[in-house]
């Protein structure tokens, strides 16, 4: 039996033919998790194919029970198909005519029912995917407010979002990506708010993805979407919080959900989307603003503190009156630049180790790293105490960056700036910072300038970034997403 792959094979009315097809293509009998059960209904063979693990057994038992009961109540042999269709006790029953469709559905966890002498197969959605229930995401904790988070199940995720926006105009479109993995991708938007151009662009970019499988889910989709190259800065924002996603939907963003990942992609995003946190919106506007400014300070420190300090160490004449105490009092054995870079890399070791170390061991690891290495490195004369201080402050600043990706990118920027200062002093720092800003300003994420609302400047947008404005006063949606409908309060 040789058939070209592009040809669509119809469901045969000979049940043995179908059996052979599935044996050959899906490996029934070879793969242990694909199986079938044959029953007789009105003297005809009926095969029920299933994929153990992805379907709910109790539903299948119920369906089989009803099908077998047909023999007790019905006698019209000519209407077997209609009778079986009627007796499939489930709200999602579909009829398919080709084997390809049937196989696709079977491998997604639905059951396929073939009837001898019938040229169609029935598909019943009895899927039950293994997964966890919604939990508060680790990276986006809040003191008050909802504690649910997205899970790995795309259906649950759409449901979690729908719970927050019951608008009839919320659109949830689904496509499949990946020749082999056939991963579901959903994109959501509010129809009369989101810019049609953006929706079309996202749709087109997703449909253009050609790959066998996207096991790394959201991250792979992101790489296809924004074609990042070697730019380390995150061009999309991720969230695992349904409330954050819903807030962005109402602002006119398009949200992309990828099956098997709890991280939603928010598009389009700018630099300043990465420095906000749900926490700020759970506090009063003044407190939220305060938190935000402190966070900005932390982020600035994570980029600029070390290069600037290094510059003052290298050239103390730059220090204005009253600040002369900055800089080490004694010369160390190792050049300061080397100390800074070593300490910075040391903290990076620590961070990586902390991710892989099991929790019971991490306390011990923290103790060794902090107390032993830190103190002894100073005693031995490898590090100056001041180096440890400033490196620690900038490391904590990086941890205070709400977006993990942005934190890492800033860390890389800092390293480049440190090297620039080490080689060229003031000139290196100034030119480095200028190039940093120009680089960010020249980036675009889905046609959106990355540094908006700073460059290009938008007074209202900038005001909203600098101050956490109270919700009743937020009357317009941000202009950067080009919303169709500007007013938040109809």
């Amino acid at each position: 039996m040789i058939m070209s792959k592009s040809q669509k094979v119809p469901v045969s009315d000979n049940i043995a033919e179908n059996q052979r097809y599935l044996k050959e293509h899906v490996g029934v009998g070879v793969s242990f998790d694909v199986g079938f059960r044959q029953i007789k209904v009105l003297k005809k063979d009926v095969d029920i194919y299933y994929l153990t693990g992805l379907c709910d057994t109790s539903f299948i038992i119920e369906i089989v029970k009803k099908l077998v009961e047909i023999n007790d109540f019905e006698s019209n042999h000519r209407k077997v198909k209609e009778i079986i269709h009627n007796r499939l006790v489930h709200q999602q029953v579909e009829e398919v005519k080709t084997m390809d469709e049937a196989v696709d559905q079977l491998l997604s966890g639905l059951i396929v029912i073939f009837i001898d002498g019938v040229k169609e197969a029935f598909i019943v959605d009895v899927r039950h995917y293994p997964g966890r229930s919604p939990q508060e995401p680790d990276t986006e904790k809040v003191v008050r407010g909802s504690r649910d988070g997205y899970t790995e199940n795309i259906i649950e995720n759409t449901a979690l979002t729908r719970r927050r926006i019951r608008d009839e105009r919320l659109r949830v479109e689904i496509t499949k990506v990946g020749e082999r993995s056939k991963t579901d991708i959903v994109f959501m938007y509010v129809q009369d708010v989101a810019d049609q151009g953006l929706v079309d662009l996202v749709k087109q970019e997703i449909e253009n993805i050609e790959i066998d499988g996207i096991s790394m889910a959201d991250k792979t989709v992101e790489e296809f979407l924004v074609s990042q190259g070697y730019n380390p800065f995150p061009m999309v924002r991720y969230t695992e919080r349904p409330d954050v996603a819903a807030a962005h939907l109402l602002e006119g963003h398009v949200i992309i959900l990828v099956d098997t990942s709890p991280s939603m992609i928010i598009t389009p995003t700018t630099y300043f989307h990465h420095v906000q946190h749900a926490e700020e919106y759970r506090e009063s506007p003044a407190a939220g603003t305060f938190v935000r400014w402190v966070r900005f300070l932390g982020i600035m420190a994570s980029i600029f503190l070390l290069p600037i300090w290094l510059m003052f160490v290298m050239d103390p004449t730059l220090l204005p009156k009253g600040l002369e105490f900055i800089g080490p009092t004694e010369e160390g054995n190792v050049p300061i630049v080397a100390q800074i870079i070593l300490a910075d890399i040391g903290i990076e070791f620590l961070r990586m180790a902390a991710i892989h170390t099991p929790t019971p061991l991490s306390t011990a690891m923290g103790l060794i790293a902090a107390v032993l290495i830190g103190q002894i490195a100073i005693d031995v004369g490898l590090f100056m105490p001041e180096v440890i201080l400033y490196v620690s402050i900038s490391a904590i600043g990086a941890f205070a960056t709400p977006s993990y990706e942005l934190g890492v990118a800033n860390k890389m920027t800092r390293l480049v700036l440190i090297l620039a200062v080490a080689f060229y002093g003031v000139k290196g720092l100034v030119i480095g910072c200028t190039l940093y800003v120009l680089f960010l300003a020249s980036r675009r994420s889905l046609n959106t300038p990355y540094l908006w609302p700073l460059i290009p400047f938008d007074p209202k947008g900038m005001f909203q970034i600098l101050f956490r404005v109270s919700v009743p006063l937020t009357k317009r949606r941000p202009s950067i997403v080009r919303p169709k409908n500007n007013h938040r309060q109809p």
Binding site: P320, V426, V430, L438, I455, P456, P459, L473, K475
Partner: protein, 173 residues
């Protein structure tokens, strides 16, 4: 409470391109002159904007200090409205960042080279340190980008919106 009095019911009007350009100019002047003051304070640069606006004309205690810098920032902010207006008139149709960068460099040349003799508190270009030159050029580049890119981006998005509206109305007709 009557409806009009509730603050959330007041609708604000969107700014026109000209208004937005002028606001951008003012804020841009404040922002980058603030950075200029910082660079002056940390001795990156021998001159600050206050050397141009104040110290060349008055040599007082206050012009050298903190209040001088603040006062000069306001002056620069106002002057910068003019710079934004000129950009709005001449260059708003140019897309991208490069025109802005060049505009900043042009302003730098104008004040540092051509108008230099007017300012007694500013040393002539050949006597400035390399640090000063690079710092001031970079500040002007960023300032020019800020003004230029903002105005041309806003101009372009307004044009796009107009085009979209026209397309829509032609479709309806």
């Amino acid at each position: 409470m009557s409806e009009e009095k509730m603050e959330q019911n007041q609708r604000e009007k969107p700014m026109s391109l000209l208004q937005k350009s002028l606001v951008t100019g003012f804020i841009g002047g404040l922002l980058w002159s603030l950075l200029g003051s910082l660079a002056y304070y940390f001795n990156f640069s021998e001159v600050s904007h206050a050397s141009f606006t104040l110290r060349s004309f008055w040599q007082n205690q206050w012009t050298n200090g903190f209040s001088g810098e603040i006062f000069s920032m306001l002056i620069i902010g106002v002057l910068s409205i003019l710079a934004a207006y000129i950009y709005y008139l001449v260059l708003k149709k140019r897309e991208g960042m490069l025109p802005g960068i060049l505009y900043g460099v042009a302003i730098w040349f104008l004040f540092m080279y051509f108008l230099n003799p007017m300012f007694s508190a500013v040393p002539i270009l050949s006597e400035m340190t390399m640090d000063t030159i690079i710092t001031t050029v970079c500040l002007h580049v960023l300032y020019g980008t800020f003004i230029g890119y903002s105005i041309s981006f806003e101009h372009k998005s307004l044009e796009d919106m107009k085009k979209e509206r026209e397309e829509k109305s032609s479709q309806n007709a």
